[in-house]
């Protein structure tokens, strides 16, 4: 519920901002290729696993941009998929939604919850750019900084509580800093997230080991190879509230902008141990269509 209130606040800020920008011509599709990042697993503009300070879509401060995305991570014992969309307003505010599915496949039977048992989660996100400009601020150290909230709701309440989670919904709060170092053809991001989420929320929030907010880190480093192609690495730390030896996540990826409408991200993700099954490494594939 708190998440919805945050979203309402952001909507009000947006209306105020739009009124302020009145009199300016609205223009579509102005940002440079890949500088807005792609869609991450939680639906926000970012890398694959990390949320960035960039506002999704190719709009500049003169327009509105939107995109849809689909992401899949094919793991040895599970399959993760996510679909969603995001809208960026005036390169200032981003509203996003993703529906994640974590399919246990044959592993479900081994876990005693049934073959093909699938956990779902809805993620509603709002992000506000508060300082700096990742691209134009090349003469300054200040990165682009954004603050955001993600309201998450898992659908298997009874089961995640049986696993020890205190709640099946929660809100993550984050501060993200992103900098494009054009001089080095690098994009760097570092994000601090206050969260109670277990496996980013798919296994609920809080647990027997810990039920408070903890600060976690997620970050990306990407090298721009051409106007269309970037390669990078990511890392994301996670709490272990359930005492199930929850691991940090990492990946290596290549993002390719076919054009301003379509980008494809392919990578290799290491999600560590998930629900007693270790070595969850596999192909990461994400497709994003922007408008």
């Amino acid at each position: 519920m708190r998440g919805f209130r945050a979203a309402a606040g952001v909507a009000a800020a947006l209306a105020a901002y739009a009124a302020h920008a009145d009199g300016q011509e609205l223009r579509p599709s102005g940002k440079l290729l890949l500088t807005g990042g792609v869609s991450d697993v939680e639906g926000a503009g970012g890398g694959g696993l990390a949320t960035w300070a960039t506002i999704t879509g190719y709009e500049t401060r003169d327009g509105i941009g939107a995109n849809l995305h689909g992401t899949m991570v094919d793991l040895p014992d599970y399959r993760f998929t996510a679909f969603g969309g995001a809208v960026g307003f005036l390169d200032r505010i981003e509203i996003s939604y993703a529906r994640q599915a974590f399919d246990t496949g044959d592993t479900g039977a081994k876990l005693g919850i049934g073959k093909g048992f699938t956990f779902h989660q809805d993620v509603f996100g709002a992000k506000l750019r508060v300082a700096g400009d990742a691209v134009y601020g090349q003469d300054r150290w200040l990165p682009q900084v954004a603050v955001g909230a993600q309201f998450k709701k898992a659908d298997r309440g009874a089961l995640v509580k049986a696993l020890g989670a205190k709640d099946d919904q929660g809100v993550d709060w984050y501060v993200a800093a992103t900098k494009v170092l054009l001089d080095q053809s690098l994009v760097l991001d570092g994000t601090i997230r206050a969260t109670k989420a277990n496996q980013t929320g798919l296994l609920g929030f809080g647990g027997p080991k810990n039920d408070g907010y903890q600060a976690q880190f997620e970050g990306s480093a990407a090298l721009l190879l051409t106007r269309r192609l970037a390669v990078g690495v990511e890392y994301r730390t996670k709490p272990d509230n359930l005492g199930l030896k929850e691991d940090d996540w990492m990946d290596v990826f290549a993002a390719y902008a076919v054009n301003k409408t379509l980008s494809v991200t392919a990578g290799y993700a290491d999600l560590g141990e998930i629900a007693t099954f270790g070595g969850q490494r596999g192909l990461y594939l994400s497709v994003q269509a922007g408008f």
Binding site: S29, G30, K31, Q138, D139
Partner: protein, 161 residues
């Protein structure tokens, strides 16, 4: 009468001596300075060589200007522009930034763009045309980005709305 003749002779001489400038329209007076280029240039000649010298820059600027002045999204902005002058000072500015031994004789970015109504979208369109022109000149991507790193902060002076 004699005085008038001398004056017109002098004017003719001056025009003959500066045939390039003759095609340019006069602009409001301003103080000439390399500081008007807006950034500190690269040291050494590595960057200018990556752009194939002043000739390479000249080809890039010509193509970029041809593109922005025909692109339906931006051409209106250049409708009243003295292209002779813009072409000359823009080449100077880029060569100067890349470390060339030239002086930039144009105006500062704020003054030059004050009345042009450039939006952030236009800025990015121009950068994309510049990237295409640099690609056609076969300038290495990393060298392209190093120049763009110098130009990007000019957004604050060029974009006025």
């Amino acid at each position: 009468m004699i005085r008038l003749l001398t004056i017109s002779a002098a004017v003719c001489l001056a025009m003959a001596a500066t045939p390039l400038l003759a095609a340019e329209k006069p602009v409001d007076p301003y103080v000439q300075s390399n500081a008007n280029a807006g950034v500190t240039p690269f040291a050494g000649d590595e960057m200018l060589r990556a752009f194939h010298g002043p000739q390479g820059v000249s080809r890039i600027v010509d193509e970029m200007l041809a593109r922005v002045t025909t692109d339906p999204r931006t051409k209106e902005i250049f409708a009243a522009t003295d292209m002779e002058r813009l072409r000359r000072v823009l080449k100077e500015q880029i060569v100067y930034i890349l470390g060339g031994k030239v002086d930039y004789t144009g105006r500062d970015m704020k003054t030059a763009h004050r009345d042009q109504g450039v939006q952030q979208t236009d800025f990015n369109i121009l950068v994309e045309h510049l990237q295409t022109a640099m690609d056609h000149e076969h300038v290495a991507f990393r060298a392209q980005n190093r120049l763009l790193a110098k130009l990007a902060p000019m957004e604050r002076d060029v974009v006025v709305r």
